[in-house]
């Protein structure tokens, strides 16, 4: 028991592992201590002091999130001194805070508001400083709004961007009462290295960092009789939307989500999973083609390793950080954009709708997808391929606005075409999923056999480890793939941009060599995306991942190339992967961006 410490909290004895904080100990006994700057995914900051507790025998109150539990400690979490201190701290924060809650996007989902509401303080204790301050509101980004008047300077965003993403688009600037969260030279987020990943949005306790929402624009489109409004749903939304509607993490709500979307008034409810299968066909073929060029044609210009390209946060990151490695990025558009390009061409034609009247809406776990849809490259149908992007959270809001009782909705199926999908597409939502899906298809193309894993579950690429390497020997190929006989296919999976940067650094310095790299900007992959329900932590992400693999296992079709609607589009429209038409609609290019 030497690894344990014993202390008393509110008169009750408790044992915790050495190194745990007082806050951890209290949580283990279901005692709730309020926090603001603390976040489980981030290092300790200890700057807000909302979590103070009394340590008997010590004069000053201690911050429970930053103080290790020690043997013999006696802690009071609710003494008069603690309550008064907490009240002062929150009131001080509010005295500098634009607490115009009814005009705030976070109303009802704000940690500061929740604390104030617990406190029920009806008087102003301090002078209101809001009028004397000048705040900036940055609304230029298509993804994120930064409103300094709602910022409590807890620095969760700064730590998120530095620790998880290694981007540090946001930092702390100035000092004292002028201290603020700032980009380089306080430029708009739109102009700096921000990847739009939204991880900071996911962790901001207040309304200071929020997604730019397009809820009203979507309602307008739905109410417009002239428009044919198509909606697509990303893989990771179906295992998280429930959380925004009072269900516990890890529930699969695919059928209810489809039913809800239909009741909101969308003309067709389709699936990004379908275009995820399409992505695998294109990207798998692209990888094999690059390998062939390198191994057979000995073409010195072919860039290997090839990295995935479905995460727009990752794309913007590499455009800023490693522009010299852009040729290594797959030219495949993301599933969202493939969907849009196909919807306004192939699909419009099939259902007899004028693409000019079609509005493509997507439901995404991601704020970077809003930026992606706005990129000038994403207009290959002749129109803006994807018109409006909502996060999972925004869809949750729309469902509430429409007065739907989500939980009692029936399970419904997607419309066709562009609605059918394989299990390989579902797992796009988890880190390692694109790799697994690509291997299921590519291995079979090359050998004519299924991947040699029990139940098609390529477990070595699964999990939550930040960087996961796996290799696979290719044996007994079909004659046309002879050049791959005996090749050890080396792959690596990384999620969170800090890990991505590490992997790319290795590749750049020649320390490691791979053939195929999967990168997702967000921790856990899209299931941990910046547009997913708040809160997020490792436990919640693990539950979502488990749900994704359950959904995959339950699918009749598990491999992208066996999806009948995919087979059909190649037959009727695209020809074959990497065909001229595919290149026109499904592939793209990237641009070099500034380094600040």
């Amino acid at each position: 028991m030497e690894n344990m410490v014993k202390l008393k909290i509110d008169g009750v004895e408790v044992q915790v592992e050495k190194g745990k904080t007082i806050l951890d100990a209290a949580r283990s006994m279901n005692i709730h201590i309020p926090t603001l700057c603390h976040h489980e995914d981030l290092c300790v900051a200890g700057n807000c002091r909302v979590c103070v507790v009394e340590q008997v025998g010590t004069r000053n109150l201690v911050a429970s999130c930053a103080t290790p539990a020690a043997d013999g400690m006696e802690i009071r979490t609710n003494s008069l001194k603690v309550r008064n201190a907490r009240k002062h701290i929150i009131e001080l924060l509010l005295s500098e805070h634009n607490a115009d809650c009814t005009k705030c996007y976070k109303n009802g989902n704000c940690e500061l508001q929740a604390l104030a509401s617990e406190l029920k303080n009806t008087e102003h204790m301090f002078l209101d400083l809001v009028e004397r301050k000048t705040f900036t509101v940055d609304m230029y980004s298509p993804s994120i709004i930064k409103d300094d008047s709602r910022c409590i300077r807890c620095q969760r965003c700064v730590r998120t961007c530095e620790e998880l993403q290694h981007v540090s688009a946001l930092g702390v600037a100035h000092k004292g009462d002028r201290m603020k969260i700032s980009t380089f030279f306080d430029r708009p987020m739109f102009e700096v290295v921000c990847t739009n990943c939204g991880q900071c949005v996911n962790r901001c306790p207040t309304g200071a960092l929020i997604e730019r929402n397009y809820i009203d624009e979507v309602w307008d489109a739905i109410y417009n009789e002239d428009k044919f409004v198509v909606v697509q749903t990303a893989p990771a939304t179906r295992v998280a939307l429930g959380e925004a509607l009072d269900l516990p993490p890890g529930e699969i709500v695919t059928g209810k989500m489809v039913a809800a979307l239909r009741r909101l008034g969308f003309n067709a409810v389709l699936d990004t999973d379908w275009s995820a299968d399409l992505t695998i066909m294109e990207e798998g073929t692209e990888l094999l083609t690059r390998l062939k060029k390198a191994l057979v044609d000995k073409d010195p210009n072919v860039a290997l390793p090839m990295t995935t390209s479905c995460s727009p946060g990752w794309i913007k990151f590499i455009e800023h950080t490693f522009p010299e490695m852009l040729p290594n990025v797959s030219t495949c558009k993301s599933p969202q954009q493939m969907f849009g390009a196909v919807a306004k061409t192939y699909y419009a034609n099939k259902v007899g709708v004028d693409p000019a009247k079609m509005v493509v809406v997507s439901i995404m776990p991601c704020t970077a997808k809003k930026f992606e849809a706005d990129r000038p490259e994403m207009r290959s149908s002749g129109y803006k391929d994807v018109d409006l992007v909502l996060t999972t959270r925004e869809l949750g809001i729309m469902i509430r606005q429409a007065g739907l009782d989500f939980n009692s909705l029936p399970d419904e199926d997607y419309d066709s075409v562009l609605g059918q999908s394989s299990g390989a597409a579902v797992i796009f939502g988890a880190t390692g999923g694109v790799m697994e899906a690509a291997l299921r298809t590519a291995y079979e193309i090359v050998t004519g056999r299924e991947v040699p894993f029990e139940g098609l579950n390529i477990t070595p690429v699964r999990g939550m480890e930040g960087v996961r390497e796996a290799s696979m020997e290719i044996k007994d190929t079909l004659p046309e793939w002879k050049f791959l006989e005996g090749v050890e296919l080396r792959t690596v999976v990384a999620h969170g941009l800090t890990n991505a940067k590490q992997v790319m650094q290795w590749v750049k310095e020649g320390k490691k060599s791979y053939h195929f790299i999967e990168i997702m900007a967000c921790p856990g992959g899209c299931l941990g995306g910046g547009g997913q329900p708040i809160p997020t932590n490792a436990e919640i992400r693990a539950k979502r991942a488990e749900a994704i693999y359950r959904e995959d296992a339950g699918k009749a079709i598990r491999k992208s190339h066996e999806n009948p609607e995919i087979i059909a589009i190649y037959k009727e429209f695209l020809g074959e992967p990497l065909s001229h038409k595919s290149h026109e609609l499904l592939h793209t290019h990237y641009v070099e961006r500034n380094r600040y």
């Binding site: 981007v167 540090s168 702390v172 600037a173 380089f184 030279f185 700096v192 290295v193 380094r595």
Partner: protein
Amino acid sequence: MSEIETLVKELADKHGRKRESLIPILQGVVEKERYLSDEAMTEIARELDIAAAQVYGTATFYSFLDTVPRGKYVIRVCKTISCSMKNGNEVIKAISDILKIQVGETTPDKKFTLLEANCLGWCHKGPAMLINDTPYTELTPQKVREIIAEYNRK
């Protein structure tokens, strides 16, 4: 390589490329250029492989590291309590009258910039100000006039 790139590189060679090297490098640039341009900060960020926002954060934390172009002579008048109780505000007003600029501004001839500063450590002899690195104490509006006239003759 541009002038600023060369300067930053030299400074990094001299002070190192660690996080601790940041402040001496920033100081070095200010010494030469009198302020930190966005180009300089981006260059420093690249050289030390840190984010530009972090360089900016550090620069704005220290009031002696200017991030906007300044005049040849930067006047910093203490605004902290001891000085302001000894009529420090009158000093600011006098300078502002003489130079026809407000706090934070630079004269059109780029000669003077007027700034406020926190305690300069001369409280016992307040009101106090600095012109570049030279302290002036026990100021009165008349004394200020003389000092500025002297700089104008330089």
